[in-house]
Symmetry: C2
Subunit: 342 residues, 2 copies
């Protein structure tokens, strides 16, 4: 069977109507609302064909039809037109984000919240993927008898602190010395560039502080290893409760449990490293609990490199065109902001 233009129009009408109403769509509705200039009977024949081709399905014999996963796929790939986004929304995005330009984490958090609010779906963002992290600066600072705080500044601008235990006998000079030696040996290195020789050298220079050093090195390694520790920002989870397809508690619970597994979310978001928008419909997401859900993902960049992912999750019946436009817009805005933060 061939997909001709009228079939496309019927398919499009069915999908649009179903997206809008969440009710199975009948031939009459289509013939009437989406003036195709043919009678319901004709539409019926087309729909029957579309069903045979796998683009539509019937919940039961005498109901209307709903789009199948394949149907959505066809729509997204060939029929969908990008929804033009009003300037107003563009303004909201930029205004909101411009307010908090200082800390990356806050910016990301705000962005994901914004995305979920604009769409009424659930938004994910993976925090910057820092790729090759180099160490810019280390400082060991005493805070009380037996405790010190290691402050680590990475090239990406990320700052981290961690408390470590230290022997009580260290004095001001010792702290300065340790900091100096660590910086001397390690500054400017990525984790890949560490090798036993360097660590040996550090240990040689700081023999008395073996225990302390071991802790510090561990902390630094963890920080540099941050790329494997991309943070997930998740906002608007409650929005899915508004969708009629999530009326049974079990489905909600399954999905929420999935939300709590950071690893799973990371996998969902960067399964493809492609640039631009990627849409995954239903089981394309390879996760039982995502059966009825679609995910619109995008990557965002800094200096031409992918550093994070944005995801927007809704029911398979989601408003793809609007979702895509907004994800696109938000991605641009975020990339912009990050560039400005350098």
């Amino acid at each position: 069977m061939k997909m001709d233009e009228r079939k496309q129009r019927v398919l499009l009408a069915t999908i649009l109507d179903y997206i809008a109403t969440a009710d199975p769509v009948g031939s009459r509705t289509i013939a009437r609302k989406y003036n195709l200039g043919v009678s319901p009977a004709t539409v019926r024949n087309e729909m029957s064909d579309l069903e045979e081709m796998g683009y539509l399905e019937q919940p039961h014999t005498s109901a209307g039809r709903i789009p199948s996963q394949l149907g959505y796929r066809y729509y997204v790939d060939f029929l969908m037109k990008k929804e033009p986004i009003e300037g107003e929304i563009r303004d909201i995005i930029y205004q909101t984000l411009l307010n908090r330009i200082r800390e990356t984490d806050e910016l990301i958090s705000l962005t994901s919240k914004l995305l979920s609010q604009l769409t009424n779906y659930t938004a994910f963002i993976l925090a910057p993927f820092c790729g090759e992290n180099t160490l810019r600066h280390i400082k060991l600072l005493p805070i009380e008898e037996g405790k010190a705080v290691v402050i680590i500044v990475l090239d990406s601008g990320h700052v981290e602190h961690r408390i470590v235990e230290v022997p009580g006998y260290l004095n001001e000079g010792d702290y300065a010395a340790i900091s100096a030696i660590l910086n001397g040996h390690l500054q400017g290195l990525t984790l890949e560039q560490w090798h036993p020789g360097i660590i040996q050298a550090v240990y040689r220079d700081l023999d008395r502080q073996r225990e302390t050093l071991k802790q510090i090195i561990e902390v630094i390694e963890q920080s540099l290893d941050y790329e494997h520790e991309q943070k997930v920002f998740l906002k608007g989870t409650l929005n899915i409760l508004d969708q009629p397809e999530f009326k049974q508690i079990e489905r909600v619970k399954a999905l929420f449990e999935l939300f709590e597994e950071e690893e799973t979310i990371k996998n969902l978001l960067h399964s493809d490293q492609e640039n631009g928008i990627v849409i995954k419909i239903g089981t394309e997401n390879r996760h039982e609990s995502m059966k009825g859900c679609s995910l619109v993902t995008a990557t965002y960049h800094r200096q031409g490199k992918v550093i994070g992912n944005i995801g927007l999750l809704g029911p398979t019946r989601m408003e793809y065109s609007r979702a895509v436009s907004i994800v696109e817009l938000v991605t641009y805005a975020l990339t912009d902001m990050l560039e400005k933060m350098r």
Copy 2:
């Protein structure tokens, strides 16, 4: 009408059975299962009295009876026996918490997770209420052209860092000088002890760095003000989805929305500053969405002072005796751990 001993036994049996089964309890069930040595008819009379007294209610004429809010209150105040907790659970608690004794936040987070897992309810903990926070140490550390990180160490052991913008012309010496001056003036002070004079003095000493200083002071103030910024740790929210009373999405949504309002949760948890366990049943929580929920709260301490709150939220039909025992146990354990961390 007077509450005699047999009425108490009938009330107790009704409540225990309803807690266990979530079904309205009939007179036969009680006469049979909780051998009171009287016939169902007698129990029936007693139940009728208890209903008149407000401790029980009927969903409809010919159903069994369920405890009213007042009934639970009476149970909790007069009838409930503490459930003895097996040593095994005690062991689990201490073992789990001993693993992560370094960072307060992690300890708290772990504790709340543990609490929710042990009980299958939802756990809240308010992070240490640091009361009179004094500043132990401030350090300004350059990280790149035009940016520095302020590190603030409080007397409570809490460390915080924040990025601030600084003029580009500062050199190493300047940073050291700024740190020294700030420490000299501000070390050992609580926010209450700050006064315009001190700030003036600092500004006088660091006239050239007015802008930078303003930012730093602001950061420090925020940190000292941390008491108003108690962090909420919330774990096991999905547990309530297992309760039969939360089968309607609307109730779930209302409750989850409440969970997202940190302020509300704080209010719920420290409405009473009493020591020991406080149980709030249903509408005693003064929140529409909490209608069907009860909250077991406790305070935890450091050096005799209340520094935080623990809460456990379940349906009004919750297993109070077990909940109370576990909250108590966890509270002791947490207090212990915090003492050890000093």
